[in-house]
């Protein structure tokens, strides 16, 4: 496998992990909206589903993007594909 193919395989795996986390917090948990709302877990006292829609999921997306960006930068560094001055 060429260097570029390896790089792409790692990039693709990172994408799958990122999208899996994204799926859980944007779609997955809301399949159980009514059940979660009744849960005794109440972040800051808010009902659980309500909290996820107005803060929880949103904050997780922010963190997820920065985490993703950091991991992708590591992958690019590992294969020497990071941009250099004057590339653009």
């Amino acid at each position: 496998m060429s260097k570029q193919e390896q790089h792409w395989e790692k990039t693709r795996n990172l994408l799958f992990i990122t999208l899996a986390i994204w799926f859980i917090f944007s779609i997955g948990i809301f399949l159980f909206g009514a059940e979660m709302q009744e849960s005794s877990i109440r972040p800051f006292g808010y009902p659980l589903t309500y909290w996820f829609t107005c803060q929880g999921s949103l904050a997780i997306f922010v963190i997820l993007i920065f985490w993703f960006a950091g991991r992708q930068e590591k992958i690019d560094d590992e294969f020497g594909f990071t941009e250099r001055e004057g590339d653009q």
Partner: protein, 604 residues
């Protein structure tokens, strides 16, 4: 005049700007104490901020194509995040979203999840790759990746349909705010809004829009957060509302049980002015089916990743790495406002509903409410209405009507804050609507001038001529948008949601597969764009004209139909036609690594 050194001094420049704006607010507050009228305060706030944006627009004027189309590709990560946040948060986010949540509760909170979750798709699937491509516009990517004018032109069609639907809503929002704040008729206010929008974008294109959007973000975030914190402290709900409103949320549920949701008869509703509604849905309970919630969130997420005015903001960063990080910053700045919207809806509702608060009106006598100053103002603007349907003399929950867009604008007054805050909120709403309208008008006119005029009609046109064409188109599109906005066909939130569905129907899969599936070719992409857009539109028309729809897909989520058709037709057509040539495959390989030259040259 504003190059080079300006970029290095950004934090200082915008720091001074923010300080200046805060001083302006304080001066206005003092003026109010000294007896300045509410009307004058509103006029000062809106016109002062708009003039500042126009000044920035004029200072950023340019005669170079890469400055006009992509701000010279030198916008730093965090500032691009702010500009994107302003570009993104429109009149719908600022003015209408809290109102939607206020009336519909959980069902509309899908918008919060959808309009943030979409950025994960932007960061992981598209933005860094399109930045590496080095395109000026989104159709530029489609046209070069798939090859051929037909693909490029199809992308322009989808872009225009989606962005134009969106921009009419934004001009409508600027018109609504200008008409309330400046006290002029809506039909005229729409053109005042348009003139302000054009002043920011015409001379400097993307460069001017970038620097005004940063300025607009600062105004709109101060204008949104200040009242939320103030009201929360005022009614003793907690000094940091985001973590402390649980009791108020529970109290609203209790009051809702006490007042009950009475359904108004059709005859009674006929007396209510058009577009106004009463609270009919519970505030915090799960009152929508999982599919209704999820399908709306899916449409908003896929739409986010396909809307060209957002994507083109990531063409302006200096590198692929900064483009990726910039998406994170964008979402962070958006998060600051979005996490506050449900808090604002909560505070607004508790202020109106709780009889223990001085501001509560539900349960008071109708004549007492009708005598309130703020009620009279907003009633005159046709944004509020009460009527004693059951004839018992007191105001019931189902007898108080408000327009969705009035919730944010009127809450400071309802909660008894000084008028200076209302003026600030009007300026914030204006900033939000203007910044998005700027981005959209520019996206459309850039696609028409770069992709249709320069790439298809007249490839030999020289720079000066290209930029003149771009500006003429900008003005024409602005006027067309304002004319349609003046007709008020659909509410602000409704047309914005449609725009996402249109974009998702036609562009989501052609963009994503362009990077992630090498086998995708031109006929497949054209089929995906056109069939997706046509089937989505057909479904919308069918449902609007009384069709029953299927799978619970409504007129707000028709993008699911369009995108599904788009995906299937793109794969099928790609597979039955020839694979892309070696040069195209090589191009896709190059897009996938950050290092090396951009696919398209610096100037093209």
């Amino acid at each position: 005049m504003i190059k080079g050194k300006f970029i290095d001094n950004l934090p200082k420049v915008y720091g001074i700007y923010t300080g200046g704006f805060l001083v302006f607010i304080i001066i206005m507050a003092i003026a109010e104490q000294a007896g300045m009228t509410a009307k004058m305060i509103g006029i000062f706030f809106v016109s002062f901020t708009v003039l500042i944006y126009a000044l920035i627009g004029w200072l950023s004027r340019t005669l170079q194509t890469d400055a006009y189309y992509v701000a010279g590709r030198q916008v730093p990560t965090v500032f691009n995040g702010m500009a994107t946040a302003a570009d993104w948060m429109s009149g719908a986010s600022f003015v209408a979203m809290a109102g939607g949540i206020y009336f519909k509760g959980y069902g509309y909170m899908a918008l919060l999840v959808g309009w943030t979750g979409g950025y994960v798709l932007v960061a992981s699937l598209l933005a860094p790759y399109l930045r590496k491509f080095g395109c000026y516009t989104v159709p530029d990517f489609i046209g070069t990746r798939y090859g051929g004018n037909l693909a490029r032109f199809s992308a322009v069609i989808v872009l225009t349909v989606a962005s134009f639907t969106y921009v009419t809503a934004q001009i409508n929002a600027t018109g609504t705010i200008a008409s309330v704040a400046l006290d002029i008729p809506f039909e005229i206010a729409v053109y005042v809004g348009l003139a302000s929008i054009l002043m920011c974008s015409m001379l400097g294109g993307m460069r001017a829009v970038t620097w005004t959007q940063v300025a607009q973000y600062i105004v709109l975030i101060i204008a949104y957060l200040l009242p939320v914190f103030w009201i929360s402290n005022n009614i003793g709900a907690g000094f940091f509302p985001h973590f402390m409103l649980a009791d108020e949320v529970a109290r609203i549920a209790e009051l809702e049980g006490q007042f009950g949701f009475v359904k108004n008869s059709a005859a009674d509703l006929a007396t209510v002015p058009k577009g106004l509604s009463a609270i009919t849905k519970a505030h915090s309970s799960v009152n929508a089916t999982p599919w209704a919630f999820i399908s709306l969130a899916i449409c908003m997420m896929a739409g986010t990743a396909s809307l060209p005015h957002v994507m083109m903001r990531y063409f302006t960063t200096p590198s692929v790495r900064t483009a990726r990080r910039s998406v994170g910053w964008s979402l962070f700045f958006i998060f600051l406002l979005y996490s506050s919207a449900p808090m604002l809806a909560t505070l607004s509702k508790i202020s109106l509903m709780d009889p223990n608060l001085a501001t509560g009106i539900i349960g008071k006598s109708i004549t007492e409410v009708q005598a309130l100053d703020w009620y009279q103002n907003w009633n005159q603007a046709k944004l509020m209405f009460v009527s004693d349907f059951n004839g018992n003399g007191t105001l019931e929950l189902n007898e108080f009507f408000m327009k969705g867009s009035a919730v944010v604008l009127a809450t400071p007054e309802i909660a008894g804050l000084p008028y200076v805050i209302s003026g600030l909120v009007a300026a914030g709403g204006m900033a939000a609507a203007m910044s998005t309208a700027d981005g959209l008008v520019l996206a459309i006119s850039n696609a028409l001038s770069h992709d249709v005029y320069y790439k298809i009609i007249n490839p030999k046109a020289e720079t000066a001529k290209r930029l003149i064409v771009a500006r003429v188109l900008l003005v024409l599109i602005g006027f067309a948008g304002a004319t349609i906005a003046a007709l008020e066909i659909q509410g602000i939130l409704g047309s914005v949601i449609w725009a996402f569905d249109f974009a998702m129907s036609g562009l989501f899969f052609p963009l994503v597969l362009g990077v992630w599936w090498k086998r995708a070719n031109a006929p497949g992409a054209v089929a995906g764009m056109l069939l997706g857009l046509i089937s989505g539109t057909a479904y919308l028309i069918w449902v609007r004209s009384g069709g029953s729809g299927f799978l619970g897909i409504t007129q707000l989520t028709f993008g699911i139909v369009g995108a599904a058709v788009s995906l299937v037709s793109m794969i099928v057509v790609s597979l039955i036609t020839a694979a892309p040539d070696a040069a195209t495959q090589k191009m896709v390989d190059d897009v996938r690594v950050p290092s090396g030259k951009t696919i398209l040259g610096k100037q093209h």
